[in-house]
Amino acid sequence: MNNTLLWYTTRGAGVVSMVLLSGVMALGMLTRARAGGRRWPRFLTAALHRDLSLMALVFLALHVVTAVVDPYTHLGITAATIPFGSYYRTFWLGLGTVAVELMLAIAATSLLRARIGQRAWRAVHWLAYACWPIAIAHGLGTGTDAGSVWMSAITALCVAGVLSAGAFRLLSPGDPLGAEKRAATRGALSEAGR
């Protein structure tokens, strides 16, 4: 197999994964913030979030497989599966491995949400807030194109997009009954009475 093709595929799929993952993060936060109304239905935001995450997994698979298979990189299965298990750029590559594994956990629990229940699903889903920055760091630290202008621009746009969605999420009104329910389960109506 043409080594250059593999090499370019690894890098290209990596960039696409980052862009898609950033989109998924933004859409996830918008879903949580109940963005939408009459002209943009909420199920669409949620569905895009889900569909793009599956697409991101495909490109991630491409990114990882081509990197491992490429003889030039001397990366074996170990590097791809065990975080910080490679000799080449150990730390920054390791971050990538961590990010992939977090993504797999999040995706698996989401696909099985009805079976594992809301609480378990939510606990794992929160790891997305760790997964995305780790993926960005991996790209900045180990990406071959990290220094170039266009790569920096793409990364900056991804970060800006996610941070904007994050701001929207933080500024949006909370769930109508969220605070009440949390207070109730903390025992607002306990023996002490109200």
Binding site: P176, L177, E180, K181, A184, T185, G187, A188, L189, S190, E191, G193, R194
Partner: protein, 409 residues
């Protein structure tokens, strides 16, 4: 009222009836068994906590469950502000209540009996504790008193179970219902104290005796809390099937004032106009056909000079405030209804308010985890039917017609 019944014996107002008097008067407690459940089914005894669910059927459901030794939860929370019957019964006839609980425990095979008593019903809890000290060892060991928070929803059966399980007296989503999985995950029989008192009597004297106590096709007696414009407010026992007017006259000593309507069943009951009330038989089936319910037995007689709209607004405000605040329709829907009726009552109604409260009430039923919003909506709809002119007067003219009557007199 003739015949041996719950309030026969020493004057209920004179305090707790001691064990000796109880046993002398009524005889020993019979042995429970599957025959008792059959007797309860034949007796047509219905739960007296408000839902009027057939008692025999409930016991059979609990007895037939697998999943650990059942628990009996004696519901003496009585969160309904106008109701007094449960605490009077617990205070004056604790042994009757404990008899019923013992029969229930034996019939369903329960290993634990919880006496769930409202924390502000100190005298009732005290009487039950003193009576418990006089009971057989086996009963004493498996029975304990649990103080229910003084909130309206604390008496709801899933809320009672949840309180015992994790200290929060708020309803839970069903399934599972308590009879399936309740206290500590075990099948739980939640039964009102009055229901258990009736069981204690049926256990001794039989279902035929109980059926005969009622008028016509009705069975047994019921405790009523009479209040408002009656000479003798308080707790009275009447035969089921008695006409409401007769109950008010004979037990309640008649009216102190002319009356326009009666609130029957408590805050989650319904308004009955004076014209309909007088001959209305207090019989489960008839009441249901006419859109009413005996509920927890409250009979609140509204004197003529008091306004039905103002009272309804006051009750709705209370009910909205007492919401468990777990379900959107109850928090926001009931809240908005209470606010709108409050505006109508105080003369500051918005043009759309009357239409809105009808629409919102129609949308409220069945959309909460418990029946709290249903009760409120039902009470309001009955008020709109009982006081149509008064509502119109308030809504369009911003004035109270009852006040106008008083001023004109």
């Amino acid at each position: 009222m003739t015949g041996i019944s719950l309030l026969a014996g020493p004057d209920p107002l004179s305090g707790m009836e001691a064990a000796t008097s109880h046993r002398t008067r009524l005889g020993a407690l019979p042995v429970a068994g599957p025959r008792l459940i059959e007797a309860l089914e034949r007796s047509d005894l219905r739960g007296r906590g408000g839902a009027a669910f057939p008692v025999g059927r409930k016991w059979r459901a609990v007895a037939g469950r697998r999943g650990g030794a059942p628990v009996v939860l004696v519901n003496g929370a009585e969160g309904e502000p106008l109701s007094r019957k449960d605490r009077v019964l617990m205070e004056a006839r604790p042994h009757l209540v404990l008899d019923g609980a013992a029969l229930a425990a034996a019939a369903v095979g329960a290993g634990e009996v919880l006496l769930y008593v409202g924390s502000d019903h100190g005298a009732a809890a005290g009487a039950l504790r003193r009576a418990l000290a006089d009971r057989p060892e086996a009963e004493r060991r498996r029975t304990r008193v649990v103080a229910a928070p003084a909130r309206y929803v604390a008496g709801e059966e899933t809320a009672a179970v949840r309180f015992v399980n994790d200290g929060v007296a708020l309803p839970t989503s069903a399934p599972p219902r308590p009879f399936e999985r309740g206290v500590a995950g075990r099948p739980t029989l939640v039964q009102n104290v009055e229901s258990l008192a009736h069981v204690a009597m049926i256990g001794r004297f039989g279902d035929g005796w109980f059926r005969d106590l009622g008028r016509g096709a009705s069975s047994g007696t019921a405790l009523l809390t009479l209040c408002g414009a009656v000479h003798r407010p308080g707790v009275h026992e009447v035969a089921q099937g008695t006409a409401l007017g007769e109950a008010i006259d004979t037990a309640g000593g008649g009216l102190t004032d002319a009356s326009s309507a009666v609130l029957l069943g408590g805050y989650f009951g319904s308004w009955v106009t004076a014209a309909e009330a007088w001959s209305l038989p207090l019989d489960a089936a008839t009441l249901r056909d006419r859109g009413h319910t005996l509920g927890c037995g409250v009979v609140a007689v509204l004197p003529e000079h008091r306004c039905g709209v103002v009272e309804t607004a006051r009750i709705l405000s209370y009910l909205a405030d007492q919401s468990a605040r777990q379900c959107g329709p109850c928090v926001f829907g009931l809240g908005a209804i209470a606010a709108a009726v409050g505006r109508i009552a105080s003369g500051g109604a918005e043009a759309a308010d009357l239409e809105r409260i009808r629409r919102w009430s129609g949308e409220l039923s069945g959309r909460g985890a418990c029946h709290h919003p249903d009760g409120a909506a039902g009470m309001l709809l009955s008020a709109l039917g009982a006081f149509p002119e008064e509502f119109r007067h308030h809504h369009e003219l911003g004035r109270c017609s009852a006040t106008a009557l008083r001023e004109a007199a």
